[in-house]
């Protein structure tokens, strides 16, 4: 559950970050973010962060879950900022990690 919450937090932050011109350029090569794509990224980003909170709270209870989520947000954002600086495309690719993690959890 914790791994899934972490993967979701990372994906959520990646969504928010790809809606920003500077990071959109790093990953897609064009500075201008198409308006539809921008809203999509931003919306999906916030949604994923909320789901990550829900997963944390479901896994660890309301009190520890919120603390856990705050810690996971920090970890995810630090990782994203670091990857983005050195390998932006890989940073974006890692955002797909919730899928394999969720699959593993279902097995």
């Amino acid at each position: 559950m914790t791994t899934l919450a972490l993967a979701l937090a990372y994906a959520g932050f990646t969504g928010l970050c790809l809606a920003m011109e500077r990071h959109h350029e790093q990953v897609f090569g064009t500075r201008r973010v198409p308006p539809m794509r921008g809203s999509l990224f931003r919306g999906a980003g916030w949604l994923l962060l909320v789901i990550s909170l829900l997963v944390s709270v479901l896994g660890a209870g309301p009190v520890l879950g919120i603390l856990l989520w705050a810690g996971l947000l920090t970890a995810a954002a630090l990782l994203l900022a670091l990857l983005l600086a050195f390998t932006p495309r890989a940073a974006a690719a890692v955002a797909l990690s919730p899928f394999p993690v969720a699959l593993l959890l279902m097995l």
Binding site: R22, L67, G71, T74, A77, L78, A81
Partner: protein
Amino acid sequence: MKTGFRQSMAWLHTWSGLLAGWILFAVFLTGTASYFRPEITAWMRSEAYRAGPPTPSAQPMVDALARMAPGGFTLLLPDGRETLGNAYWRESGAGRRGFREAILDPATGELVAGRETRGGEFFFRLHFQLHYMSPLWGRWIVSFCAMMMLVAIISGIVTHKRIFADFFTFRPRKGQRSWIDAHAAVATLALPYHAMITFTGLVTLMLMLMPWGMQVAYPGDPRGFSNEVFGRAAAGRPSGRPAPLVPVDPLLAEASRIWGGAPAGRIAVSHPGDAAARVEVLRGPEGRLSNQRDAVIFDGVTGALIAREGMTSGAAATHGTMYGLHLGRFAGPVLRALFFLSALAGTAMVGTGLVLWAVKERQAAAKAGRIGFGLGLVEVLNLATIAGLPAAMAAFLCLNRLLPAGLAGRADWEVNGFFMVWGTLLLHAALRLGGRRGWVEQFALAGLLGLGLPVLNALTSPWHLGVTLPAGEWRLAGLDLIVAALGALLGGAAILLARRQDLPARKVRKMAHGAAPAVPPTMRHGQAAE
């Protein structure tokens, strides 16, 4: 004077951060290590380590302590992290000097013969009361710096006007730009943690910092205050009639049942063997944030439940929760790892802030053509703190393995050795003023000590990685692995710095020729961060 709100906040941020920075770095780093206080202690006294799950019965230890401390004692019960029983008591009639401690084997109740060491307690105490001075002075100094930290956090948020636009931004290999990015990233990405830990840290010392309310309501009677606030009844007097102490394990089970299954953390027995004996069972950190006192009191002869103490008022509960949050003892392995990561980010925040000041001043100095005393002092202190302290901490762990077990005052010599290494590195920093060489050398030393620690451990202890990893003894293996990883990081920094030796020279030359510097040196933090 400074014009505008943001500029004055930038000024405040720069100076509150710089002046308290070196102590704050030490407070952050030793505090970070203190998340693993029991593990560090276990590692440093590994010959006494007991593998496996904690023994279910506290009876052997209580029996042994009743003989050693007839006046009463407190026993910290072993749990998932601490495998031994730690007890303390006050020898009757001996006043302040009568404080006694003992470490017991949970299975037999016998005293554990391990080397004399402060263990993780040293970092923990250093974290909030420094060393070589009265603890009270140390606490005031640390509190003052913590207040500066709070000021720096808030003024830093005001100063950094592009928090969201720069949220994920780190631009490496761009000189001062990179330092600003790194400083802002480790600060904002772990901001909830930094604010929480600084504020709750001040709360832990609040009765020392702001005692006035207490003094007015309880004049001359601080004990009366704490008894009432923390719900503690005064201990009774012995009756003089002997009576056997009730078996304690059923009492522990009963208390745990009252707490809905949460285990007891400690047990305090007063007057064992007397008809007036009392047994207090105190709840452990598991399953709640708060470290507020929550005790179940039993009659020490009949075992009858007398009262449940603690859990008094909303204010006490708030205090307990903040205190508990600061200590983080409730955190399981994952949450603890996340706290540790955020705390490292906090350490990096202070460190990058200190370096940033020096980098900016150095550009100004390069333009002016001379290095002032202030910049020199900051650079020496930066080097001795940021690279020197981790090296000294690693040396402290190495000394634990190298000092002979029978040395008189051994625990003190570990500590003295730590400060000797640190002091030497300060001297070294002063001798290497103004170049990269000092940084390369001290980072390399820290890296060698960190990476060498598991090797040294393998040569001197039965519990080395070759044993602990296959056996899954993470309580001990964790220290070897974390210290080695941090050592690799610092060693890597040394190698990177050594390789880029030529870079600053080129930059300084470029600036001397009048090419536009990245940021005009007259600009202060706020403007530069835009």
